[in-house]
């Protein structure tokens, strides 16, 4: 189970520091606590946060550009992250005045209150002699006129956006009490071409769509990718040899291998939370069941389901002890839970319509799914099947994937007739829904964990 929380090292406010000191934010696994069903406050107030451009006290050229430009871009990324969560209404950096380095540690509370903001984010960027960038960010509450948190990051210039995401993550966590998720990556399928002959390419990007990269060239249809927990590999389906089969793609080397030597079609791959096991579906003589195999390769597949009918998909619980999957053994697609060894299979979805593509939240408290009842909608329910509710309402929303904090879901939406697809994001209130920017159409999103 990968849970992360930002440990911000709060520095003593006293001591008359002339310039801010920094500690590198650390990510450490949090305690494994019992999954609990979080009540989502749908009436939560949107927080107005002023985000003026960061300060670049000394203009310096870096491989990522001039620090003056980066100072503004960092504020833009933070504002964009917070806005995208739907829980903040950032003001600036556009339209806000420049701040001084001194203000970063001694904000002009009165001035910013006058800008109709509840909170204020200030910070700075410096280029170090070793070529790295130091980014400091500070969150102030304008009501209490108190510092809420401060963080510092030392990053190579090419990773400046990660410093901005970490800063936004810390502020999001502080203000919402939820775990961070901005500093993470997404694998998905980029789609082009006519509906009858879509070209589908494996692609990856940051959680906000930046640093986009196509991985496959589209000659073979690629589907359903999943990042490994350490981001080093991607499981995905490719028709490379003419048949649908799962490959493990190594991100650094660009090499890939089949997960099993079997000639049968394999699909719907998932990693176990520790990255040691691969869950997948395999059709033998037309009959599909769920299997697992050692991720390192060379192991013998273990068949987990034997019921007549299609048993497909699946996703591990965060402790790796259970698997949620779908089966039509009862007549149509419904969601089932079983032990990771295949025991104790039982149906959990009993709401109206069919239930498909179950995905266990990394927090363990919820299972996201696609409900097919006329239209396709994305919803969530508890692991015991109770509390089912829909988060989206469109013609065809499909294949939810969880943000690492288990509070935001991505899925893809298909347009009627045109077949055009896009990746969308929604939070657990169902209110904050938006489309992610992708260079071309997108489907099959897969959200990875928070980066270390």
């Amino acid at each position: 189970m990968k849970k992360y929380t930002i440990l911000s090292l709060l520095l003593a406010a006293s001591g008359g520091l002339a310039s801010p000191q920094f500690a590198i934010a650390q990510t450490t696994p949090a305690d494994d606590s019992e999954p609990e069903l979080i009540e989502v406050d749908v009436e939560a107030r949107v927080r107005k946060v002023a985000v003026p451009s960061f300060v670049s006290p000394t203009s310096a050229e870096t491989p990522a550009g001039n620090t003056n430009a980066l100072a503004r871009q960092i504020a833009e990324v933070i504002a964009s992250d917070l806005r995208g969560s739907g829980l903040f209404e950032p003001i600036g950096p556009s339209g806000l005045r420049a701040i001084t380095l001194g203000e970063v540690t001694a904000p002009e509370y009165g001035y910013w209150k006058g800008r109709n903001a509840d909170q204020l984010i200030e910070g700075f960027i410096k280029a170090g002699a070793d070529g790295n960038l130091t980014v400091g960010c500070y969150l102030y509450d304008l009501g209490t006129t108190q510092e809420v948190t401060r963080l510092g990051f030392v990053v190579p210039p090419k990773e400046w956006r990660r410093a901005a995401h970490k800063c936004a993550d810390a502020i999001y966590s502080k203000m919402t009490g939820e775990l961070p998720f901005f500093d993470s990556r997404i694998a998905y399928i980029a789609e082009t071409g006519p509906k009858g002959k879509r070209v589908k390419r494996l692609a990856i990007m940051d959680s906000d769509g930046a640093n986009h990269r196509f991985i496959t060239n589209g000659q073979a249809t690629a589907l359903t990718p999943r990042f490994s927990p350490n981001y080093k590999s991607i499981l995905y389906l490719s028709y490379q040899d003419g048949n649908p089969r799962i490959y493990v793609y190594d991100v650094d080397s660009g090499k890939q291998r089949l997960i099993t030597a079997s000639k049968n079609p394999t699909f719907a791959p998932r990693w176990s939370p520790d990255g040691q096991t691969i869950l997948y579906s395999m059709a033998v003589g037309g009959n599909t069941d769920v299997y697992k195999i050692t991720a390192a390769g060379g192991g013998t597949p273990v068949r987990l389901t034997t019921a007549p009918g299609i048993d497909v998909g699946g996703s591990f619980s965060p402790d790796g002890k259970q698997v949620v999957f779908e089966s039509d053994r009862g007549g149509n697609q419904q969601v089932y839970v079983m032990s990771a060894d295949g025991g104790n299979q039982k149906r959990i979805s009993f709401g109206a319509g069919r239930h498909a593509t179950p995905e266990w939240s990394p927090r363990g408290d919820l299972i996201a799914f696609t409900r097919i009842a006329g239209d396709f909608r994305v919803g969530v329910m508890s692991p015991d099947g109770s509390g089912e509710r829909m988060l989206t309402d469109s013609w065809q929303d499909e294949a939810p994937t969880w943000a690492p904090n288990g509070r935001v879901i991505q899925f893809f939406r298909t347009e009627k007739n045109s077949g055009k697809t896009g990746i969308w994001q929604v939070d657990l209130t169902g209110r904050n829904e938006r489309k992610l920017p992708t260079p071309v159409d997108g489907s099959d999103p897969a959200w990875g964990p928070v980066l270390p």
Binding site: S281, G286, N332, A356, T370, F376, W395, A399, N417, D444
Partner: protein, 174 residues
């Protein structure tokens, strides 16, 4: 020769018919699996347009309009009476060319989730394969591949289009 000319005429007729209604109502047209790779047509030196016995063109001419495919109800994969007639026609052709192998593609409509459709397409292709095998076609001559909902034959989002997309298509290979 007379026979060849006759089948050629049939194909031309079918093509013309397709082209004619294609302009009006594209949803009605099951394209002749234009997404699929038939392999390289053999040219035995015959004149242009001549059908080579045992070729994919010959197969399509022999089984007739839509004779290369069977259709399924939503979420179903059973071979019904109409499908049986189609597969019997395919089996007759396969009996004439015992060295020919086939690939059966299983397809689904877009109103299913991706992974389930891959499994369902596999079921449909296997249902067709099993029926052909029951008619005496050696199973080792038959390969299956599921495309799930990735390769619709009709591009509309309506019942008519979906009915055409829930299919198993037989393609001959060299």
């Amino acid at each position: 020769m007379t026979k060849t000319m006759k089948t050629l005429a049939l194909v031309l007729l079918a093509t013309t018919a397709l082209a004619a209604c294609g302009k009006k109502k594209i949803d009605n047209i099951p394209p002749q699996a234009d997404n699929t790779d038939y392999g390289t047509p053999q040219d035995n030196g015959g004149g242009a347009g001549q059908i080579i016995p045992g070729s994919q063109e010959d197969f399509l001419a022999a089984v007739g309009m839509n004779g290369d495919r069977i259709f399924f109800d939503t979420d179903r994969f059973n071979v019904d009476t109409a499908d049986q007639a189609t597969l019997q026609s395919q089996a007759q052709w396969l009996a004439r060319y015992p060295n020919k192998r086939i690939v059966i593609e299983g397809h689904c409509d877009e109103r299913g989730t991706r992974d389930y459709n891959l499994a369902l397409g596999e079921r449909r292709a296997n249902a067709a394969k099993n029926y052909l095998a029951s008619l005496g076609v050696d199973a080792s001559r038959i390969q299956t591949v599921s495309y799930g909902k990735e390769r619709p034959a009709a591009e509309g989002s309506n019942e008519q289009a979906w009915a055409q997309n829930r299919r198993a298509v037989t393609i001959t290979v060299m």
